[in-house]
């Protein structure tokens, strides 16, 4: 029996640029195979819809909802190797395995992503400087492609494996993945929080001591100007071990000061409220959604004024000196998951996320970005700054060694697209790039300079999708799948070859 299709209007998490497609939810790999194999129109897979832009949309085509295929196929509790279907969420994996002492090797800021999406975006987390990105922990994949089902691993077909890592779902649908989980003793994190007065202070503190932590991130106030430019709250953590959660709260740190001692006492009180309880399970993992945003907020709720006030409060709330406290995994990794549908707060026009990375040495570009956004009063929620370790072999995998900065920006602000276009130029110039899983507005001409191995990726992609059947709105908007002559596009299936009168060739990016 074939699954029913329904015409649906879809957007990404940012709720911008909606497009309608046939949404199909296969419930078995066989049904999925049939869909991908017999495709006559552009199609792309969609998981939980957490990509900010248009990566999981295919206007006028078919969008395959993979969440109906979310079974765990096997787990080896000695090695921590997990085999799972592509539609399973990190949330379900954590709920199953954290109580057994295993955590996902990489988690983004939300648990509500699928394994397939994690691979297609080659997601990273706060531990990139130590552990790299998601696909570095994947042992093998089963892909449904227009030429049939293929099993790929970094050894049996490194080209296709790494083209899929960060390939935005354009090399096929991830049916299954086998990955290595990491062992943990508890479901708690030992979190150090500190303030940085400005950007230099922040970068300096991160450079000096990130090595001591598996997880590190800074929340930067991009609305602060002048001597406060780039002020930040840095939170860094390691997985808490059983002794860390002993009755005394947690191990007394060496770097004690009186301030420090006071905050430690407070933290101990909080911790022991949970930890001192009889029958306390150090591996318990059952995070809840505390509240839901019930409807789309009126336009302009999140503006320069309200966001400045929020950012100010966030900064003031953080301790001046390093303070250590245990925190449940969910509140450390996924604070926003506690608020359902928080994307509605941005109102009907939605929002976009701008995430860039520049190599170490290009700190001036990070400063310039923050300066220009603050200077032009572009409203932004706290930005996330972190350092990346070395990248992996994926031609479209986002992370490279350097600094990454991510900002949520209400869409529809006057002049926003021009500001971001300017920033793109500077990022590309510095040898950096923007993250495709977040993108919703990059100028296509800059893509090849940001991802110099694009043609290599296109060639591998064509191997599994010679007729250009897999296509997304993101892919079309950025001409991702098109070779430079424009001969092959994801649209060819519906529209035939394009007529190109007056073709002047590709534009050079304006400098």
């Amino acid at each position: 029996m074939s699954p029913t299709a329904e015409r649906r209007l879809l957007t990404g998490w940012g709720r911008t640029a909606p497009s309608a497609a046939q949404l199909v939810r296969p419930s078995s790999p066989a049904q999925l195979d049939a869909l991908v194999h017999g495709a006559t129109r552009p199609l792309v897979a969609r998981g939980l819809g957490r990509s900010y832009g248009d990566a999981a949309q295919a206007a006028g085509g078919t969008v395959i909802d993979v969440t109906g295929m979310s079974s765990v196929l096997g787990f080896n509790s000695t090695t921590g190797v997990l085999r799972v279907q592509g539609g399973a969420s990190l949330d379900s994996v954590m709920r199953m395995l954290v109580p057994r002492g295993w955590f996902v090797p990489v988690t983004p800021g939300t648990r509500f992503v699928t394994l397939g999406g994690a691979i297609a975006s080659d997601i990273h987390g706060k531990n990139h400087h130590v552990d790299g990105s998601f696909c570095s922990h994947v042992e093998s994949l089963v892909l449904a492609t227009p030429i049939g089902r293929v099993e790929v691993s970094p050894t049996n077909d490194p080209e296709l494996f790494w083209a899929t890592a960060g390939g935005m779902g354009l090399t096929g649908v991830v049916l299954e993945a086998t990955l290595r989980m990491i062992p943990v003793e508890t479901s708690w994190m030992l979190v150090d929080t500190e303030r940085a007065a400005d950007l230099d202070d922040c970068l300096d503190r991160m450079q000096k001591r990130d090595g001591e932590y598996r997880y590190s991130v800074a929340w930067v106030d991009c609305l602060a100007r002048g001597r406060n430019l780039g002020r930040a709250v840095i939170t860094r953590a390691n997985h808490a071990r059983i002794p860390d959660l002993s009755a005394a709260g947690h191990s007394a740190p060496e770097r004690a000061s009186s301030d420090r001692a006071a905050s430690d006492r407070a933290a101990t009180r909080i911790a022991s409220r949970h930890l001192g309880r009889a029958g306390f399970d150090p591996l318990a993992f059952d995070p809840r959604v505390a509240l839901n945003v019930p409807f789309v907020a009126p336009p302009g709720l999140l503006n320069t004024l309200s966001l400045s006030a929020f950012n100010e409060a966030w900064y003031r709330k953080a301790p001046r000196q390093v303070s250590t406290r245990p925190e449940p995994m969910a509140s450390f990794f996924h604070p926003l998951d506690g608020v359902g549908a928080w994307n509605r707060l941005y109102g009907p026009r939605g929002f976009l996320q701008y995430q860039l990375v520049v190599p170490f040495g290009a700190e001036d570009t990070i400063r310039a970005v923050i300066e220009q956004l603050a200077g032009r009063r572009v409203a932004s929620f706290l930005a996330v700054l972190k350092s990346f370790g070395p990248g992996n072999p994926g031609p479209l995998s986002f992370p490279i060694a350097g600094w990454t900065l991510a900002l949520d920006l209400p869409a529809g602000q006057a002049g926003l697209s021009e500001v971001l276009d300017d920033l793109d130029e500077q990022v590309a110039e510095a040898g950096g790039r923007v993250y495709l899983a977040k993108d919703s507005r990059l100028r296509p001409e800059l893509l090849a300079s940001m991802y110099p191995r694009l043609d290599e990726w296109r060639a591998v992609r064509r191997r599994v999708d010679p007729d250009g059947l897999i296509a997304s709105d993101l892919g079309r908007r950025l001409s991702l799948c098109e070779d430079p002559t424009g001969a092959r596009t994801g649209d060819s299936a519906t529209h035939g070859s394009q007529k190109r009168e007056g073709h002047l060739g590709r534009l050079e990016p304006a400098r």
């Binding site: 909606p18 206007a59 976009l352 006057a414 926003l416 296509p444 908007r477 394009q498 007056g502 002047l504």
Partner: protein
């Protein structure tokens, strides 16, 4: 595809020689617009517009012969334009004539010509493209209406009535497209100094094609369904719309 900031990469222009259309296309080519189909009767004039767009950075600017009053061919034309572009992100409906009011008042054919060119033809073209965009699952129709259609004045009531009809049609079409991924943006400029109004005394708040284009770009960014240009027209017409008829009739111009 339209991006998150509302900027299109491809466009079909009906009435490609319109000065407002030309100014808007130039502004959009500076952003993301790369492929354009220019439709209209005067192919030579369209070829000039096409050359300008290519000089400004458009990769493709295709001229197609098209008479907005020949509605029988509209459906086929919409299909042809869509094939030429691959994806149609924007359809700009800019065909229109002012007509000579005194002639329109006395000559039935002249009156019908204004109404067919400004209202019947463009409405039929919108129907044809709405079907195309619906199939495609996304896209935006931008239609040039006028404040003249908000409350029709005796001084230019044939033109005003044609725009009133077009504006109402576009509003209804917009509602009928809700949930389809296709949206409609209605542009209501005041007096714009162009070839169309050459030799006329400019009305208060007279504007330019470039200023109207900038207002449209801003509306695309914000996702506004209606663009008043200049924006103050919105408030002026909020008042004029409810003015007692005895007063309205006596307004100058």
């Amino acid at each position: 595809m339209n991006d998150a900031t509302g900027m299109p990469q491809s466009a079909v222009v009906i009435g490609g020689t319109s000065e407002i259309a030309g100014a808007l296309l130039q502004a959009l080519v500076r952003r993301r617009l790369r492929r354009v189909v220019l439709a209209g009767r005067d192919e030579q004039a369209l070829a000039k517009v096409a050359a300008h767009l290519q000089a400004a950075g458009a990769e493709q600017a295709t001229v197609m012969a098209f008479d907005v009053t020949e509605v029988a061919g509209h459906a086929a034309f919409a299909g042809e334009a869509a094939r030429a572009l691959g994806q149609v992100d924007m359809v700009l409906v800019a065909a229109g004539i002012l007509g000579e009011q005194s002639e329109s008042e006395t000559d039935p054919e002249a009156a019908a010509r204004v109404l067919t060119t400004n209202q019947t033809g463009p409405a039929a073209a919108m129907v044809a493209f709405a079907a195309e965009l619906r199939r495609q699952g996304h896209g935006r129709i931008v239609v040039l209406s006028s404040v003249a259609g908000i409350r029709v004045r005796q001084a230019n009531f044939v033109y005003g009535a044609s725009k009133a009809g077009l504006d109402g049609f576009a509003q209804g079409l917009s509602d009928s497209l809700a949930g389809s991924g296709v949206s409609v943006t209605i542009v209501r400029p005041g007096f714009v100094r162009t070839r169309m109004t050459a030799g006329m005394d400019p009305a208060p708040l007279a504007t330019t094609a470039e200023a109207v284009a900038a207002d449209i770009v801003r509306a695309l960014e914000r996702g506004s369904p209606v663009v008043w240009s200049p924006p103050a027209m919105r408030w002026i017409f909020a008042v004029l719309r409810v003015l007692p008829r005895s007063l309205w009739r006596r307004l100058p111009g």
